[in-house]
């Protein structure tokens, strides 16, 4: 159970940190419809995080909140793309396109996991991320082909986030440790490309050539943005250790 928990923890952290980023948009979106849409996506993602962290924690006698609020930066296992600051709406959409495509292929694969709980979580999540993917596809095309400014911002946003794509498919010791349970990240690149590349083509966007960052989120190596995010996320809970809310 410990090995499965470690795998679930990484997946849960990805979703948790992304949900935290999406939460920053609420009440700040470019139009009311997007306050609703980004809120929905954030809520779904937070839901996935809670299921995964609750499951991971059950192996260690810890709650989802123990894991979310009382771990330090180096103990988080999220990949770096999820930590990246929102940037403008175009950059957030670029990140959402990538991560929604990634989640789509991940959860589709995880439905066949030998671990029943993970398979069930994935089955529910797979349906939800379908909608997230739609949302980011529509906006990607719209922004890329909208005005000159929206195109410039879309290209810049995609270039800013692209260096973090490769890490999504990098080997993950926690996945390797439970081959029947986990989806091997490397196997997801092809189906991911099959989703994302046609969207980029439709949006008349070139695949950026910026080099990939070294990554290492699954080993606890995080970009400098995570520390600030955690300072804010954990501040209240840590001011009241042991409190129930």
């Amino acid at each position: 159970p410990d090995a499965v928990a470690r795998y679930a923890l990484g997946l849960g952290d990805d979703a948790l940190i992304l949900a935290q980023r999406l939460g920053e948009w609420i009440a700040n979106a470019p139009e009311l419809e997007e306050d609703v849409a980004l809120g929905n996506i954030g809520l779904d993602t937070l839901g996935h995080a809670r299921s995964l962290l609750t499951y991971a924690g059950s192996a260690w006698g810890k709650t989802e909140d123990d894991l979310a609020y009382f771990r330090d930066e180096a103990d988080f296992r999220c990949r770096q793309i999820f930590e990246q600051p929102n940037g403008d709406f175009a950059q957030t959409i670029a990140r959402q396109l990538i991560v929604s495509a990634y989640f789509t292929v991940l959860y589709r694969g995880l439905v066949d996991s030998a671990d029943g709980t993970l398979a069930a979580i994935a089955a529910k999540a797979a349906k939800e991320v379908d909608y997230h993917l739609d949302h980011s596809e529509i906006w990607s095309v719209r922004l890329a082909l909208g005005t000159e400014e929206s195109r410039r911002r879309t290209v810049a946003g995609l270039e800013a986030i692209w260096p973090f794509v490769d890490e999504l498919f990098a080997d993950d010791p926690a996945a390797d440790a439970v081959p029947a349970v986990a989806v091997r990240p490397g196997t997801l690149r092809e189906p991911f490309d099959a989703i994302v590349l046609p969207v980029l083509a439709r949006a008349e966007l070139a695949v950026p050539t910026t080099p990939a960052v070294a990554g290492g989120g699954r080993l606890g190596v995080h970009s400098e943005a995570l520390g600030h995010l955690l300072a804010e996320m954990q501040v209240l809970a840590r001011q009241h250790p042991g409190a129930v809310w």
């Binding site: 009311l32 997007e34 609020y69 804010e232 209240l236 409190a243 809310w245």
Partner: protein, 311 residues
């Protein structure tokens, strides 16, 4: 004159006025003012809570808070749509909000510096809003009444969640209890003022009541609200900060102290803790989103014209 008579008859029979019906210009104007102000309040009301989403102290609370703020955005959407049936666009209404021409509920010009405020806002502010709004479900203008039905259902959910936040704090550590009490101390009087000035000083109310847009007087609603929250406060174990608050056997109601209406008017005029903040944030979100809305418009136009070409 026969149009006016028909309108008056519908009102007298408690029938609904629909967008295609004739209505007096003053009725239309009053509704636009009230409904758009209501919509703006939902939008501005997202801010004090939105500000705590990133710091919510448990994942469950974070999820509930996100859902709540999202509901408010949704309420804003219905209400803008309902108001648009009166011949004004959302852009025009937003413009009035951003230039300060239109108001929003003055309650959001108070600050929410504490997590416990998420509880007080739910329990007291949403509670007062519901007391105001439940009668509006029967408002004479159809689209307004129907929007309110949906909104009230969600609001009472929010009120219970706020109550639950305070309950958890009052069942918690001493520091949590202090946090809850300090917050209730700040929100009690402003919540009571949400029903508007005393009836004697509320000149517009008469006409609105005649038109069945408004169905109870400010003071009646305020009394009803106080009667409701006193036992709830006792259950929570918080003290309501009003030394004059006591049960009046004769009236069958709680008596309560004078409210500081000078403060109310000062906040209304713009000198609250958060007036500047709320409007600045709203404008910033709108301005920063301008290029996105423009891109969507340009894309939609291009798509429409290429469809025309294709057909």
């Amino acid at each position: 004159a026969s149009k006016l008579a028909a309108f008056d008859a519908l009102i007298a029979e408690n029938q609904r006025i629909e967008p295609s019906d004739w209505m007096p210009e003053a009725y239309r104007k009053t509704l636009v003012r009230q409904m758009s102000q209501h919509a703006h309040s939902e939008i501005i009301g997202m801010q004090p809570e939105g500000n705590w989403i990133t710091r919510a102290p448990s994942l469950k609370r974070k999820a509930i808070l996100m859902a709540k703020v999202q509901d408010e955005a949704g309420h804003g959407l219905y209400l803008y749509s309902a108001t648009e049936t009166l011949g004004i666009t959302r852009d025009e209404m937003l413009d009035q909000l951003h230039t300060g021409k239109a108001k929003y509920s003055s309650i959001f010009n108070y600050l929410a510096p504490s997590w416990a405020d998420m509880g007080s806002i739910g329990w007291l502010v949403d509670g007062a809003a519901i007391a105001n709004q439940v009668p509006l479900c029967r408002a004479s203008y159809g689209p307004y009444g129907r929007a309110m039905v949906r909104i009230c259902k969600e609001e009472s959910f929010h009120q219970r969640q706020g109550f639950e936040i305070l309950l958890a704090l009052m069942n918690g550590t001493e520091a949590q209890q202090r946090m809850a009490q300090e917050s209730v101390d700040r929100w009690y009087a402003p919540a009571l003022m949400m029903f508007g000035p005393p009836d004697a000083e509320s000149p517009n109310s008469q006409q609105s009541m005649a038109w069945k847009i408004k169905r109870f007087s400010n003071d009646d609603l305020r009394q009803r609200f106080v009667d409701m929250i006193v036992p709830q406060a006792e259950f929570l174990g918080v003290t309501l900060p009003d030394p004059d608050l006591r049960w009046n056997e004769d009236r069958g109601h709680y008596d309560f102290g004078e409210l500081d209406w000078d403060e109310f008017y000062a906040v209304l005029r713009g000198s609250g803790q958060a007036n500047a903040l709320r409007l600045a944030k709203r404008r910033a979100a709108h301005d920063e989103g301008a290029w996105v809305r423009e891109a969507a418009r340009a894309y939609a136009e291009r798509a429409a014209s290429s469809e025309r070409l294709a057909s």
